[in-house]
Amino acid sequence: MSSESIALTAVREPSRPLGDALYSWVTTVDHKRLGILYILYAILFLVIGGIEASVMRLQLIVPHNHFVSPQTFNRMFTMHGTTMVFFVAMPVLFGFGNYLIPLMIGARDMAFPRLNAWSFWLTAFGGLLLYFSFVGGNGLYGAGSAPDVGWFAYAPLTAKTFSVGHSTDFWTLGLLVSGFGSIGAAVNFVATIVCLRCPGMSLGKMPLLVWLNLVMGAMVLLVISPLTAAQVMLSLDRFLGAHFFDTQAGGSAVLWMHFFWIFGHPEVYVLVIPAFAFVSEIIPVFSRKPIFGYPVMVAATVCIGFVSFGVWAHHMFTIGMNSYANSFFVITTMVVGVPTGIKIFNWLGTMWGGKLQFKTPMLFCIGFLFQFLVAGLTGIMLAAAPFDWQLGNSYFVVAHFHYVIVGGILFGLFAAFYYWFPKMSGHLYNEKLGTLHFWLFVIGFHLTFDFMHIPGILGMPRRIYTYEPGRGWDLWNFIVTIGVFFQAVAILIFVGNLLYSMFKGKLAGNDPWDGWTLEWSTSSPPPEYNFARIPVVRSRRPLWDLKHPEDPDWKYE
C-alpha cells in the first residue's frame, strides 16, 4: 500500500489585501477557521500563563527571595491557574474539536455556524476582560489589580469586605462571559455529532475522537452551569448585599466550595477526555493497527463522564466533613480510576503487536501514556482521605495535577498539533526539531514535576510566596525552577518549527500519515466546503476501505 500523498499542490486562496483578509477572519463562521482562531488564542495565553508560572518559580528558586512582592505572587498563582484552565485548555480543546469533528463525520460545517462564531468571540472577550484587570482593576477607590484570590476564589475571601476593589469582579465576570461561550460551543458539539453524521456513520462507526468529544460536550453543559450559578450568587453577594456565602448572616462559605468543585472536578475530566481522544486517534495510526477494544473505550469514557460528577468533595477532605461523606468520596474517587485504567490497557493493547513508527506525534503519545499513568497513581494516593489530610494543599497536590495537565493533557495536545498541523496548514513540520522539542520538554517536565512531589511530602504548602531556608526544601525548589528553562526553550522550538514550516515546510498532501479517518480524504488544507460529495461510510475506517477494497473493514465489524 502506497503512503504517498495523493495531491502535491497545497490549496492556496489567491492573496488578498490585508484588510480584506483580516475582515474575513473576524467575520468567519467556518468551523476550520474558528478552530484555528481558538487554537491561536490558546497558544497566546499559553505563553502568558507560562510567564506567570515562570515568575512564581523565579520567586521560589531560593528561600527569602525578593523577585516579586507577596501581593504580586498571589496575583500570579490566581491568574496562572485561571488562564491555563479557562483560556488555554478549554479554547484549544474546543478549537481542535471544532476543526476536526465536521471533517471526521463527513459534514460541511458544525450544526450552528453562527453560534460557533459567537461562542468563540465570547470566550475571547472573557479572557480580555479578565486581563483588563491588570490595567483597570483599580476601580474607583484605587484598590485592586488582577484577582489574587486563587483560581477557585474561595469564600469568604471573595466577599466585598475582604476583597476590596474590583479584582474579584473581573475574575467573576470574565469567567461568566467565557462560560456562556463554552456552553454555546458544547451545544454545537452535541448537536453536530448527533445530527450531522454522514450516511452510514452510526454511533458505533464514529471515530473515537468524535465519541469522546460528544461525551465532553455533554459534560460541559452540566459542568459549566454550576460555576455560572455560583458566580451569579457571588456577584449578588458583592453587588446587591445578598448572603449566599456570608457567614455573618447564616450563610455558608463551604457552600461555595461545594458549588465550585461540583464544577471543578468534572471540569478536569472535560479537559482530559479530548486528550484521550487525540491519543486514541494517533496511537492506532502510528502502530498501524486499529484501536484495541473500541466499544470498551466508548463505555469507559461514558462511565468516566458519569462517575466524575460524584467525586467533587475529594477537594474538600480537609474541611471537616463527617466520616460518611469522606468515605463516600474516597470510594467514588477510587472507582473513577478503574475505567481510566482500562483505557490505558487498551492503548497499550493497540501498540502491542503493531508496527510502531516513532514520529513526533507518537513520541508525545508515549510520553502521555507513561506520565498520565503516574499522575493517576498519585491521584489514587490522594484519594485516600487520611493521606490527603497530610498532603492536601501541599506541593504534592500541585505536582499531581500538573503531572496530569502538563504531562498528560499538554503532551496529548502536542501530539495533536504535530499530527494535524500538515492537514491544517498543508505543510510538513520539521521532524528533527519536533523530536528535539519532545526530548527537551520531557527533561524539563520531569525536572520540574517529578521533584516537585518531594517538597510536598516534606511539608511545603501551596500558594506561599517564600519559605524558610534549612527546611530541606531549598534544593528541590531550585531543581524545579531549572526545569522551567528547558520547557521554555522547548516551547520556543515548537512555536518556531510550526511558524517556519507553515511557510517553508515541504508540502504535505492529503494524507501524510496514511490515516484512516475522513479528514485525510480532503486536501490539505481542506476546501471551505470540506467535501464536494458527502461521503457514505460502511466501517470505522472509511479510508482503509477505500485503499483496501479487497479487504475492507466492514467485513469484520
Binding site: 451545544v187 450563610g251 464536494a532
Partner: protein
C-alpha cells in the same frame, strides 16, 4: 472525487438523524436545568437558616392565579404550534398572542408580589437568607420568562408581517420547547418555595 467504497444507496436513502434544532434546544435546556438546580439546592439548604427577618410563612401568599396563567400558556403554545403545522395561520396567530398575554400576566403578577414584599413586608435580597434565596431563584425564573416573552413578541411581530409560514413550524416548535421548559421550572420553583419552604 468519489468517496464511497461501494455505492450503497440504501444506506443513503434510509439515513435520517434527529433535527438539529431539537437537539440544540435540548442541550440548552440541560445546561439551564443545571443552573436552576444549583439555585434550588441553595434555596433548600438555607430553609429555616435565616438569622432574622420575615419568614416565608409570614409573607408568602400562594400565587395561584399567576401559576394558572403560566401553565395554561403551555397549552396555548402547544395549540399554536399544532395550528401552524396545519398551515392555519390565523389560529396560530391567535393562540400565539394568547400565550404572550398569559406569560405577560404572570410576569406582571410576579412584579406585584415583589412590590408588596419589598415595600409592605420589608423583604429584600439583602434582608436575610430567605430574601437572598427567594429573590435569586424566583428572579432567575422571571428572567427566563422575560427572555421567552421577548422571543414570543418577536415571532408575533414576524407573523403579523406575514413572514411566518408552515415551513417554519419546526423552528417555532424549538422555541416552544424553551417555553415548556420555563413552565416546568416554575412547577419546581413553586413546589420548593411555596409548598416545601413554608
Amino acid at each position: 472525487m468519489s468517496s464511497t467504497a461501494i455505492p450503497p444507496t440504501s444506506i443513503e436513502s434510509q439515513w435520517s438523524l434527529p433535527y438539529k434544532g431539537h437537539v440544540g434546544m435540548a442541550c440548552l435546556i440541560a445546561a439551564e436545568s443545571a443552573i436552576f438546580t444549583i439555585f434550588v439546592v441553595a434555596y433548600i439548604f438555607y430553609i429555616g437558616k435565616s438569622l432574622s427577618g420575615p419568614t416565608p410563612r409570614e409573607v408568602l401568599h400562594l400565587p395561584i392565579f399567576a401559576t394558572v396563567c403560566l401553565l395554561s400558556s403551555s397549552l396555548t403554545i402547544h395549540a399554536a404550534v399544532g395550528a401552524l403545522r396545519k398551515s392555519n395561520l390565523s389560529a396560530f396567530c391567535l393562540w400565539w398572542f394568547l400565550t404572550l398575554t398569559l406569560g405577560a400576566i404572570f410576569l406582571f403578577e410576579t412584579g406585584r408580589e415583589w412590590q408588596r414584599l419589598i415595600y409592605h413586608e420589608g423583604l429584600t435580597i439583602s434582608t436575610n437568607l430567605f430574601g437572598t434565596t427567594y429573590y435569586s431563584l424566583v428572579g432567575l425564573h422571571a428572567f427566563h420568562v422575560t427572555v421567552g416573552l421577548i422571543g414570543l413578541f418577536t415571532v408575533l411581530l414576524l407573523t403579523l408581517l406575514g413572514k411566518v409560514q408552515q415551513e417554519h413550524s419546526r423552528n417555532v416548535d424549538v422555541f416552544a420547547m424553551y417555553w415548556h421548559f420555563v413552565d416546568v421550572v416554575w412547577i419546581v420553583v413553586f413546589t420548593v418555595v411555596y409548598i416545601i419552604g413554608r
